[in-house]
Symmetry: C2
Subunit: 418 residues, 2 copies
Amino acid sequence: MVDIEKANKLAVEKMMDSRPVLVGVEKAGKVIPGREGRENLLTHAGPPITWERASGPMRGAIAGALIFEGRVKTYEEAEKLVLSGEIDLEPCHHYQSAGPMSGLISHSMSVYVLEDQTNDNYRTFSGLNEGYGKVLRYGAYSEEVINRLHWMDDVMAPVLDAAIKEVDGVDIRALIAEALHMGDEGHNRNKSASLLFLKALAPGIGKVCKDPQITSEILKFMGDNALTVLNPVMAACKAMSDAAHNIEGSTIISAMARNGTDFGIRISGLGDQWFTALAPPVEGLYFPGFTAADANPDLGDSTITETAGIGGFAMAAAPAIVTFVGGTAPLAMETTMEMYEITAAHHKIFTIPALDFQGTPTGIDVRKVVEKGITPRVNTGVAHKDAGVGQVGAGLVRPPMAMFEEALIAFAEKYGFN
Amino acid sequence: MVDIEKANKLAVEKMMDSRPVLVGVEKAGKVIPGREGRENLLTHAGPPITWERASGPMRGAIAGALIFEGRVKTYEEAEKLVLSGEIDLEPCHHYQSAGPMSGLISHSMSVYVLEDQTNDNYRTFSGLNEGYGKVLRYGAYSEEVINRLHWMDDVMAPVLDAAIKEVDGVDIRALIAEALHMGDEGHNRNKSASLLFLKALAPGIGKVCKDPQITSEILKFMGDNALTVLNPVMAACKAMSDAAHNIEGSTIISAMARNGTDFGIRISGLGDQWFTALAPPVEGLYFPGFTAADANPDLGDSTITETAGIGGFAMAAAPAIVTFVGGTAPLAMETTMEMYEITAAHHKIFTIPALDFQGTPTGIDVRKVVEKGITPRVNTGVAHKDAGVGQVGAGLVRPPMAMFEEALIAFAEKYGFN
């Protein structure tokens, strides 16, 4: 008989011991294992999806990525190309990657490269963050969006790569731990973490970039974006979650991700199978001019943060987040307190000052989710349901219970419980 | 009969309406009113003090400033020069300035220049922050200390001045408000505020500085110092407190400051008179190798932060501060809650997320201090009692009750209460 408690303890220990360090920025098609030379591969957030079932923002991002790659000129041409069967759509999660919202990563795009120092330098990846509003990850693909992506790739990425090497890398786990003491929770509120990231890289950027105008532009672009660090944080959480994946007999959730149509989870002891349900709507605050009727269902790989014990699970560290996800400050504390009910450990590195430095609730146990009837709490951005628009708000969401039940049944079947 | 309530309301409104904006960096002897051409003037923290009564760290800083100015070569020569009567020692507070710890500002030193946008551009000033450990403000004066001061003045200051102008100034009140949502309290914990400051200036620094090596060094020096912004914050609090000063009939405290020997306060309705008592010892955490026996009594103008409604008064926003001032996280909340007992208002700009965005306790009413028997709570750094050593720890302190009682009696006498 498998010892679930022992397996879960091992999984969560491995999750917490994982120490991903940012080591550089390179082209996805060059650096990500399995992507080499595959110009037709686009990876996206969440579990697998087809064009036919893809949401508006996911379709918009796919079209934008193909325009960026110079494969097509319009949305209509992109749709035709994808429907021709020439383009492979696969989850970022299948390529050691994680991407916010649509999560689109195409062949030529630059990605952050992280190495897990306690896990044989296992590598994980995430794209560069574009900022707010009309951006590819929210399904926008206008000329402004594509031009920004080219500037990021052509001008910023080489400087970032050299700067990261100049400062000998950035320990993202240490950065997250520090930011949790500075009012961040690591998912929607990454304001302090982004400034810590800027602080770490700025001396390197200043040194390696020989053009003061470009130095100034990069420092401004990174500094003005309070989500600059979200992508490296997600790649770090992907490393931590993957460290806890494939532990025989473990009921710990090792991935949660949404593609805008489906919400999917993976269980450590159940290999690479996805358990999915329709992605739910998000309850939150909308930007002026938008309402819940404009909102796409839940989207993005960013739930990898909650999977690794931060994000919604660490909201007690970030009461100010309610100003953009809605609710009152006590909600932030309640959210964290509830998540202790469904997790296996208190994080030994990520702590919450307001709880007198107690560790964050870490390692979601699918048994507890089902037994207690408590689904994970997630905070997230909200995309417009149509392609081409962008972000319309932010809020809170819980994944549907059905897929947790389905996963637990599958676990019982595999391991012979009745 | 004077209407104290009305006077206090006006004083606190003026304090909260004050909006100091950083506009540049210039030489103290050139820009501070009353200092022009006065090469023999040294200003220091706290109420007036003589060399004879000055503490070790204050004497060390005076000696260091005279070495920096090229007036003497050694501590002994400095002592002789000061005792000759040639040097004028006066409080920073008498020159629209505020300085942390010894607070020493000499003729040639560069100072931040702030203008209060809602108060006829009233100007306030503070020096550049040197970082930690062996630094002039803690009484160290070795060659390393003096060389750093020269680098700051010769290399960094001109770049900062140009960068501040390049970014059109920095609204320090807005910056403090933002940092209170990021785990800072604005006095000993200015970590997020310092990064916001770096973020604001970095694009300007990158642009105006044409030497990548110097750009890199300045970005690193500022980024590595989590108290980089303390001095502009103190100058901003000086502006806010001065806006509340000299209101006829007001019992609001408009300055609290320590010179390392005496703690002094001023009352808005009592003009420029100082009420003083011996500075108390600080209870706190000591750096490895040091104990309470090494500690100088309370020192510095930084209590201007508590005077303006942040610092110790805003500790509920910064539970992580207990890691370096001692105590447990609930102490941070208790400190803020107690300060509501002795203050006149909840700040309308400075708010605390964990208290569901309630304003910080602002405007200390000397009547309430005496009537309730509750003295202000202050968090602070601790200097070694001997000249030449530097910082040895950080902790919490309360000023002695006697001077509040004395001030209240003086108020009653002036305004004819019995």
